[in-house]
């Protein structure tokens, strides 16, 4: 696609890419909708401004953290406590939406912004037709039916990938299985299944029919990684994703710093792509996008 693609053309391309897991294109997922340069863009993490900015910058997908307020409104907030992300303190779960709406989001430098927390509805409306979304639900799986309703109402069912923790032993693992067995219509949502390792690929594919299967950087970077599992994923019509927020080995830096290797800080990304990753969640989406453009792996 030419650089002059219109926004609708670009969005249509992203949807096609999502349905073409063996394509060479690597999708860039901006962690928290892109946040490291929040002051420069005047767009705090998980804000409507960050969503609009991420679309304008050409990020393929925006990762959004979805939590619920005391009165059960879905809102975009990364963590449980509010000291870092808002101008007040305490737990999100202790505030009603009206109380939370009085708060202002903070920039990473510690300065208060004029932006308030976004509701999920607002965020989806802002992103509709602009970029893919990776929704990270941080609320009980029992509310997935309501999440689906919001996606339907905002016309974003097609572009949203709902992250599901598919790791045996985790509390959500059994709850998700039970819920999806009981409510098969939930599988109308596009699922991004986070697996612990390659052994969990087949069960996850069978249970969730995901649009993408995600490995942690830690799991993907092991020397004896079973590359055959990737073919299984692609054959099932799913894309191979890697969440670069992690550490490959004890003592390594956390976040995506471990992946930023080599003098140009790109060799780690290249290695992941060579191994078959086609969707990378990253803290530095601008840099990754520039790297992929140079390699001809995005447009």
């Amino acid at each position: 696609m030419s650089a002059a693609a219109t926004a609708p053309e670009r969005f249509a391309l992203l949807l096609r890419e999502l349905a073409t897991p063996d394509s060479a294109r690597v999708l860039v997922v901006a962690h928290r909708a892109g946040y490291l340069r929040d002051w420069e863009y005047q767009a705090p993490e998980n804000s409507l401004a960050a969503i609009r900015n991420g679309i304008a910058l050409g990020f393929d997908a925006l990762e959004l953290d979805v939590r619920q307020t005391k009165d059960k409104r879905f809102v975009l907030v990364h963590e449980s406590r509010l000291e870092r992300v808002t101008d007040g303190g305490g737990f999100l779960q202790d505030l009603t939406w009206d109380e939370l709406a009085q708060r202002r989001l903070m920039y990473r430098n510690g300065q208060r912004s004029e932006h308030r927390v976004a509701t999920l509805e607002e965020a989806l409306s802002a992103a509709r037709g602009g970029a893919l979304l990776k929704l990270h639900p941080k609320f009980p799986v029992e509310r997935f039916a309501e999440l689906r309703e919001v996606l339907l109402e905002t016309g974003t069912l097609e572009q949203a990938l709902v992250w599901i923790d598919w790791r045996p032993g985790e509390p959500d693992h059994e709850a998700v299985q039970a819920l999806f067995a009981k409510r098969p219509e939930l599988l109308e949502m596009r699922i991004l299944a986070n697996v612990l390792d390659t052994k969990e690929v087949r069960p996850a594919l069978k249970a969730l029919n995901p649009a993408a299967v995600e490995f942690s950087y830690e799991a993907f970077a092991v020397p004896d990684f079973d590359a055959g599992a990737l073919e299984t994923i692609r054959s099932a019509g799913a894309r191979v994703a890697v969440n670069c927020m992690g550490r490959a080995a004890k003592g390594e830096p956390f976040g995506d710093r471990a992946v930023q290797q080599g003098p140009e800080k790109t060799s780690g990304w290249k290695t992941l792509v060579e191994r078959g990753a086609r969707m990378l969640q990253i803290n530095h989406p601008e840099d990754l996008r520039a790297c992929l453009l140079a390699l001809g792996l995005t447009s």
Binding site: W39, E40, G89, F91, R112
Partner: protein
Amino acid sequence: MKWPMPESPTQRDFPHLVTHSAPKDDPYDAPAGDAPEAAFENSGGQIVSLSWQNRGVKRSRFPMAVAPYENPTLQRFREKYDFLDAIKGIGDEWQRLLALRNWVHRKLPSNNSSGEQNSFFKRPYPDESFDPFKVLDKGGSGCCWWCPHYSQMLRAVLTACGYVSRHVGNISPYSPKEGSRTHGVTDCFVQKYGKWVQFDANYDCHYERDGVPLSPFEIGEEWARNGGKDVTVHVGLENKTVGNALTPFEGENETCRAYWNQHRWYTDPFSGHGTWFGTWNSQMVLTLVGKRHEGILAYRGRAPESEVDAGYADGRIQYTTRAADVYPDIGTSHLSLEKGPHTGTVKVNVGTFTPNLDTVEVAVDDRMWSDQEPDFLWYLHEKKNVLRVRTRDKFGNLGRESSVNVELRAKA
């Protein structure tokens, strides 16, 4: 891309002509409380002992201006001058702060003999923004430097090293004969002591009581209590005690000057916003008022021209009785513990207000510190478990540590 400038919120967001008091169920205050035993319900063992050192996070209701680490002007400042050399190899935060104060003191040699005629900026200061480059480049040129130059310069240097600080205008009580005396100083949040401390780069000194460095408000309290006789003055890199605050020391050590403390809150030395030399400006000023201020007006200036501080009337001086509005926690970590999802786990949530935050760091038992998300699971074992959390900013500065210790034994 144009680097964004902070915009002062004073007039728009905050009502004036009121003294702000602490709200009920203060949502800006996250006290630590006791270590919750219920969080260990899924620990897999029985609690033998449980304790924590949890600082908590107290926020200000007033937004502050913070220089982003990435600000190109800040980075240029770091590269151009050699203050980083002054702290090279010094691991202790307190010693680093003293070294930076001493660096500013040396770079602006005071030449009072030349008098005001040779002053780089004449008094009263014109409406000229503070430019740390301009001042440092004129440092040894024989200019006559005044206390706000030292205060603002120390603030610029501390900011460039990631330390959160403010320019403070201290004002003594008013007397009809003498008016009020003023002095510009700097205060800075010091992790080692977990509090704000006043630094005076003009005289390369700070004040202590019983070995603990004092904030501007605390110095004022000491004066109100007994004239400051328990306050000691400490000078230079060696932290040398030169006597108590009653001992003459270059004429600027009187604790009475810290009676009123006007904190220049919304300034950023590298954005050109709100950083002016003197006290005649329009930026937000925060003053903590205590019992000593009840029924008393703040005057400024020398007799007979002393006048009631006009800033109160136009809203730029904000008064509050809530200490954390003026002296909030910076870089501290609030630990919250909840029952874990599986046997042998506890859910940990870390709250923090750390400007230019790089990451939360965690150390489990005797293992090394490593980066961590603010929400995580703590995996427990029998006997003694230790969890420590802190933050690291982009400058590499470490926040004050919070920790929890729990000893478990196998359930019978």
